[in-house]
């Protein structure tokens, strides 16, 4: 046993402080760079720190050998790996396992993975200031520390074996969980040396494997969580079953910031299976023996809402106010290289809508509150923050709140929030039994914390050849960061996410001015992180505008960009790679078929997407093909990189094609997949992902595909139709070839109907 107060003092806390600056960070990822140097920031993820007390060790199963918070080996040789990040589909459990296993010397078939318990100290991501999975940071933040953690464990296991054999550890090798001493032909399994290894002092320095000798890293590896997921055996939060548990479903006031005035629950309580009706100041829950009883009960309630300040709010009011801010509002300056030079001024305005996350698993949490304990089962990107909120609501100390994280049925930033956990705790503390609270899909969308809407004004001054010599950017929108992490706001109250991918650009444009006009939304309209956040609209605007400039100059969009990228070799590299793979310009395309380029450097990676569409005479957009050139530095898992980029692209295409959360009478108008449309398989194009091979540090991935999609789509639609889209989602009415095209469809439908009759 090595866990306990006598654990070696950690001398390596400072290692993470240095590493934070290696992150090319913005938005959520830059958030906590500003608070660097504080105690919180220094006590985070570390290759040598262990769970600190006997209780933690017991909860952890009293592993024989646990040299850090990630690796547990018992005397049977079984290897358990504890995952610092949350698994929400991005394959981080596989990636983290590969980093640990590479250095530890085991195969992925020899390990099991576990969710980490809530702990900023053990699993905090320095760039995010805590145990947070977001900002496409997980691989960037753990790339070194987890390999080091694996190497620490291997070093101790080898030392234990070498001591037993009285040989030099340098003469030993490790392969698949076995230490070998080849000269004498002896071998010992990890389990056989685990007890001895646990007694050895922590090694100060460890040797990391030379990248050319990697056995796992860089290979396309299959996921460690796939076998259960294809059998329905994976436990998501919604699948948790606790003895004595009841199930609730809820309705909060549909009007944003509205309150519960009164509720008549007589009919609801008469529904068979309904056991309770619970109230909060803005919501009602009906508790049943099963979800169906709860839902029937909820529908039988007669609720009176106090609609409050937003009773007459509409999307148009918000859009008008936002546009006014973008044009005339007082700005915070992110970049200003001096006066606007002389030349031809070109200017456009773009609008981006509010977007819901619509994770496939509706929000849910199971909570059991007793006099001295609060136990929570939920899938969260922020376990430690959720514990803090539960402690606040119950009045219990944080160490009396136990949270069991689960596999997440999608995150996309929605599960960076804790609102549904807070609500479930507030309901559960009213009852004596464990309570599972499941939001209906309608509740999940109506009370999403949406990606903010934006209004952006972009301009450029061009020289005689149509080349930009200055660019201007005024972006207006609500701030997620200001609410999520107020201390992370920058100079003059700047929100780094608001200008990410536009304050710094790959193009050689000598001067620019980039401004953010903070425009807070009304109370109750809470904006949140949504896969890609700031870059999703900044890249849409900037890359659409680059196409406008190319068109203005009479140049090919590829050539126009190339000419501006001579100082950005990695950006030029992905542009050339994608163009080559799609065969840009190699042959003429059919009528109303077009290709659009988008290039960007979001989340520390470099990416170019080229989308090919066909626009029907009736204005329907068919996605024919997409090709991506990607430079994310060293690949950990080549297979999941492809999957993340494909999935990210489809997530972005779905939003750009269809998604728009709108407000009427202060409430979201969309509520389920019938009116919040999502891309389906018959609408999804083939997506090729081509990667630049190099040895640069890993870049972020989870949000990269999503952030680069919309401009590639809009530029493709322009190429196919000559129609420039200044607003998302795609408005098919603008793309109709002629009124006759619509008539012909109507007559064909009528004709078909007659045939059937």
């Amino acid at each position: 046993m090595k866990i306990g107060p006598d654990s070696p003092q950690d001398k390596h806390d400072d290692i993470d402080l240095g590493r934070r600056h290696a992150l090319q960070a913005g938005g959520l990822a830059i958030a906590f760079l500003w608070v660097g140097g504080t105690g919180v920031a220094s006590a985070m993820i570390n290759a040598r720190r262990q769970p600190g007390d006997a209780a933690a060790a017991l909860a952890d199963g009293n592993p024989t050998f646990a040299p850090n918070a990630f690796i547990r080996i018992d005397t049977s040789g079984a290897v358990r790996l504890v995952m610092p990040s949350a698994e929400m589909g991005q394959s981080i459990y596989t990636g983290c396992s590969m980093l640990l296993a590479e250095e530890l010397g085991v195969g992925l078939d020899q390990i099991t993975v576990e969710h980490s318990p809530p702990s900023d100290e053990l699993y905090g991501i320095p760039a995010l200031g805590g145990q947070i999975t977001g900002g496409s940071t997980s691989t960037r933040a753990t790339w070194t520390v987890l390999r080091e953690a694996g190497a620490v464990a291997r070093t101790l296991l080898v030392s234990a074996a070498a001591t037993k054999w009285h040989v030099d550890p340098a003469t030993c090798t490790v392969d698949r969980g076995v230490v070998h001493h080849t000269p004498s032909g002896r071998s010992l399994g990890f389990g056989e040396v685990a007890s001895e290894a646990a007694k050895l002092p922590m090694p100060d320095k460890v040797q990391l494997t030379d990248p050319k000798d990697f056995k796992l890293i860089g290979k396309p590896m299959r996921r460690v969580d796939a076998a259960d997921k294809i059998k329905g055996a994976t436990q998501f939060g919604i699948d948790v079953r606790i003895p004595g548990m009841k199930i609730a479903t809820v309705m909060a006031c549909p009007t944003l910031a509205g309150k519960l005035a009164a509720v008549d629950d007589k009919a609801a309580r008469a529904v068979p299976g309904v056991v309770d009706v619970l109230r909060l100041d803005n919501a009602v829950a009906v508790v049943g023996d099963h979800f169906w009883a709860a839902k029937q009960g909820l529908q039988a309630l007669k609720i009176t809402w106090d609609h409050g300040v937003n009773a007459n709010l509409t999307t148009q009011q918000l859009r008008d106010a936002l546009a006014d801010s973008a044009r005339h509002g007082k700005s915070i300056v992110a970049r200003d290289d001096g006066p606007q030079p002389q030349g031809t001024l070109v200017q456009s305005e773009y609008q981006s809508p509010m977007l819901a996350h619509a994770t496939m698993e509706p929000l849910n949490a199971t909570v059991f509150v007793t006099a001295d304990k609060c136990e929570i089962w939920t899938g969260t990107q922020v376990p430690a923050r959720a514990v803090g909120e539960a402690a606040r609501i119950t009045g219990l100390p944080q160490d009396k709140v136990v949270l069991h994280n689960q596999y997440l049925g999608g995150g996309f930033g929605r599960r960076l929030e804790t609102d549904w956990v807070e609500q479930a705790v507030a309901f559960a503390k009213q009852v004596s039994y464990p309570l599972k609270v499941i939001w209906t899909r309608e509740e999940d969308i109506r009370h999403d914390r949406v990606r903010p809407m934006y209004h952006d004004v972009i301009s450029a001054v061009l020289d005689a050849n149509g080349r930009p010599v200055w660019y201007g950017y005024r972006t207006s929108g609500g701030s997620v960061l200001a609410r999520f992490a107020p201390p992370a706001m920058g100079k003059d109250g700047m929100d780094s996410d608001a200008v990410e991918c536009v304050a710094e650009i790959p193009y050689d444009i000598p001067k620019g001015k980039v401004e953010w006009i903070r425009h807070d939304m009304p109370p109750g309209l809470v904006v949140g992180w949504w896969r890609g956040v700031g870059p999703t609209h900044n890249l849409f605007v900037f890359e659409s505008f680059m196409d406008e400039l190319a068109h203005h100059a009479g140049k090919d969009p590829l050539e126009y960009r190339r000419a501006l990228l001579q100082k950005s070799p990695r950006a030029l590299g992905v542009l050339n790679l994608a163009a080559e793979k799609i065969g840009w310009g190699s042959q003429p395309l059919p009528a109303r078929v077009g290709r659009g380029i988008a290039l960007g450097e979001p989340f520390g990676s470099h990416v170019c997407a080229i989308v090919e569409v066909e626009v029907t005479p009736q204005g329907e957009v068919r996605l024919r093909r997409a090709v991506v050139g990607l430079d994310c530095g060293i690949a950990v898992n080549a297979s999941s990189i492809e999957a993340q980029v494909q999935g990210g692209l489809l997530f972005g295409l779905s939003a750009a094609m269809f998604s728009d959360i709108t407000i009427k009478d202060g409430a979201f108008e969309q509520s389920n997949f019938n009116d919040y449309r999502n891309l389906r398989i018959n609408e999804a194009p083939v997506i090729e992902v081509h990667r630049v091979i190099n040895t640069e540090s890993p870049g972020g991935l989870g949000e990269v595909g999503t952030a680069i999609t919309a401009p590639a789509l809009a530029n493709a639609i322009f190429a196919a139709t000559g129609v420039r889209l200044y607003k998302l989602p795609v408005d098919r009415h603008l793309l109709v070839q002629s009124p006759d095209a619509l008539k012909s469809v109507v007559s064909a439908a009528v004709h078909a109907g007659r045939d059937v009759a």
């Binding site: 059998k231 049925g409 030029l572 590299g573 489809l650 389906r680 398989i681 018959n682 091979i693």
Partner: protein
């Protein structure tokens, strides 16, 4: 008291006739592999088989089932088409978050059962009722074809020579 045949086993259940099969499976019988996504047959996460046909259990009143055989994700691997689909899902490494995949696999297994060699149009028709927010559609299509033909279908684009790019 109804009796349901689920995965070859008889379950007596005391529930209202209009209760959707989804909640009987999940909350009464305790088979949680079948998922709740929308409640209105729009997303397909709740797909199960009724006598081998794919149905959306979130809108299927349990009283309407009678003695038809219900198969869920937990047992679809015991059918030849289900086994092939699950193996292809592993080989192609389809899943991401995995939440919709029970339904995807049930729809795909039913497709393969009635159309052993589906083309793209067959796949579109059978699978367009199943939403995946992670965007695994490219690999789902590849996996269905691989299950049908036994030929490796995944795109061979994972590692590219860096022509025209800095290496």
């Amino acid at each position: 008291m109804l009796s349901l045949s689920v995965n070859g086993q008889a379950y007596p259940v005391d529930v209202p006739d209009d209760m959707p099969l989804l909640w009987v499976l999940r909350d009464v019988i305790g088979l949680t592999g079948t998922k709740f996504g929308c409640g209105i047959a729009q997303c397909g996460a709740c797909t199960v088989h009724l006598d081998g046909q794919a149905v959306r259990s979130c809108v299927l009143p349990v009283g309407s089932i009678g003695n038809r055989a219900i198969t869920t994700i937990e047992a679809v691997g015991n059918t030849p088409s289900g086994q092939k689909i699950q193996q292809a899902w592993l080989d192609v490494d389809v899943v991401q978050c995995g939440y919709c995949q029970s339904g995807q696999i049930m729809s795909a297994a039913a497709l393969l059962q009635r159309t052993p060699n589906p083309n793209d149009a067959d796949i579109d028709a059978a699978m367009s009722g199943n939403i995946c927010r992670c965007g695994t559609y490219v690999r789902i299509r590849a996996a269905i074809k691989q299950a049908a033909t036994g030929k490796q279908e995944i795109l061979q684009t994972l590692v590219s020579a860096p022509e025209g790019a800095k290496s």
